[in-house]
């Protein structure tokens, strides 16, 4: 009797346990498949050149050559490239957070003539694809008046090509960030703002000292997404720079690949350097990345 009772209880429990086990196995298999390229990247970066060239190479390195990283950074200035990317991504992040939050705040909280028109212009700007903007943007940079030997009409020199200006200014503010900040500022209550205004605080003071501290999640989301897309950007820096000392990491990798197309260990050391900061950033700011990506929907 007691045994029969026990059997009746444990049959569904066994089914539930085996269901859980299958679930974990399936998820583990998918996760491993997804990170295999990253694992292969790191393993390759630690192998010797002859080992990689062999027709039947083992999956794990026979000798773990950590020195590859030192050699790779001598073979190509990957660290300079990474430093350039860091400077650009940091500048983009700072400029975007400051200017987009100011614009978003004004559009959400201030009444002024033309604010509706400006808002809808930003929404329209969201829809312009990169590949439509990028050709004229290149021409504007090339013919920038009074820069890089250009005269007032933008003729005679190379404008902003091969300069920090070209790398930083055109992509510094994104309409998406203006849009996202506006949504966050709209949700704030009016009482704080009115109290500060009664105390005689300036409009800029209200924005900077009262309202912006209340939208920290928006600041974090915009900052992380801006840094990520700037660090990962490729086509724009490729178009506007030729000089090696201005190259960003993504462009530097492609140049190294075309010039030394069999040095996989060094190339994989470089790609590890190019991906690691984003992996770390994602682990730290996962919550904000998730929120931001769910809003944009596209990379």
């Amino acid at each position: 009797m007691a045994i029969a009772e026990q059997a009746r209880i444990s049959a569904p429990r066994i089914r539930r346990w085996s269901g859980k086990a299958i679930l974990y196995v399936v998820l583990a298999v998918i996760s491993v498949a997804m990170i295999t390229p990253f694992v292969w990247m790191v393993l390759t970066s630690l192998k010797t050149q002859p080992e990689i060239g062999a027709a039947h190479q083992a999956l794990l390195p026979r000798h773990w050559v950590f020195h590859n990283y030192v050699d790779a950074f001598h073979a190509a200035p990957f660290l300079t490239y990474a430093r350039n990317s860091l400077i650009i991504a940091t500048s983009h992040t700072l400029i975007n957070v400051v200017l987009a939050s100011m614009a978003g705040y004004a559009l959400a909280r201030l009444r002024f003539r033309g604010s509706q028109l400006i808002f809808y212009s930003f929404v329209a700007a969201l829809m312009i694809p990169t590949y439509t903007k990028i050709l004229p943007e290149f021409l504007i940079v090339r013919f920038m008046p009074l820069a890089g030997g250009n005269n007032i009409l933008g003729q005679g020199g190379t404008g902003w090509l091969d300069s920090w200006w070209a790398l930083i200014i055109p992509g510094a503010v994104t309409p998406f960030s203006v849009f996202l900040f506006r949504q966050f500022y709209l949700d704030l209550p009016t009482e704080l703002e009115e109290a500060a205004r009664l105390d005689g605080m300036s409009e800029f003071g209200i924005y900077a000292r009262i309202m912006t501290p209340l939208v920290k999640p928006a600041v974090a989301t915009v900052a992380l997404l801006t840094f990520e897309s700037s660090w990962n950007n490729f086509l724009w820096p490729l178009l506007v720079t030729q000089r090696d000392n201005l190259r960003v990491i993504q462009v530097g990798l492609t140049v190294f690949q075309t010039e030394n197309n069999t040095q996989w260990a060094f190339l994989m050391a470089g790609t590890t350097l190019a991906t690691l900061p984003m992996v770390l950033l994602f682990l730290v700011g996962q919550r904000y990345f998730v929120q931001g990506f769910a809003t944009v929907g596209i990379k």
């Binding site: 491993v32 997804m34 990689i52 990798l253 991906t275």
Partner: protein, 278 residues
Amino acid sequence: MVAPAALHAVIWIGLPVIAAIWLSFTSYDVLTSPRFVGLRNFRDMLHDSVFKKAVGNTLIYAFFTVPVAMALGLLIALLLNAKIRGRVIFRTAIFLPQVTATIAVALVWLWIYEPRSGLFNTLLSGIGITGPAWLSSTRWAMPAVILVGIWQGIGLKMLIYLAALQNLPRELYEAAAVDGASRTRQFFSLTLPLLRPATFFVFVTSVIGAFQSFDQIYILTNGGPANATTMMTYEIYKSAFREFRMGYACAESLVLFVLLMLLTLTNRRLAGGGRGYR
């Protein structure tokens, strides 16, 4: 306070769009002044077999990457929505390809597809198969590029579906369970219909994203072999910066713009208009 951002948008978005429209009616090689040619660029495009091939490839690429990545993304989201431990670890692993640079991961895939000692052919030779030269075969290059697109795209779809699943009303499921509906029945009669807005959002934004793929083509195939993997974005880049036909490239970019605009507008219309604009 809106002035700096607005001025930036006027110079770097507004002006370029107007310039692109104007230049699309010109012949322009950057060195000499643009010359007005009317509709010639658009007429030329109709007879440009490579551009037509690129439009076809872009559609094929989107047609295969988007639905497969969506189905897998939904499946993984359903699995992760169960009461399990370590959800964050699984989610991180699956989302990582999305946050890492396409250039860097495409270089890794280039190495994986390497015919002699790449990972794929090494594994295949382990079971006695001699793998093809994936990226230089007209037959295998496109599937290889599509696989990379799926791999990189799953994470975002999974994420949006997971967020949508966690917002589904629990009461409906309790009621369905009381009525004796099976899990399968619940999925098809409740979950899928309730996820329709998310599905639509994911679909449209993913197609828009797929239409703008460039970096992986640049690294993996350069559009080859024999234009088998070239895309609209790659042709725009080639016309502008390899052939210096700026006017023609602008005309091509406007075709892409109009296609994406149509997709966005259908999104608005079908998603019930103005998602979140207040």
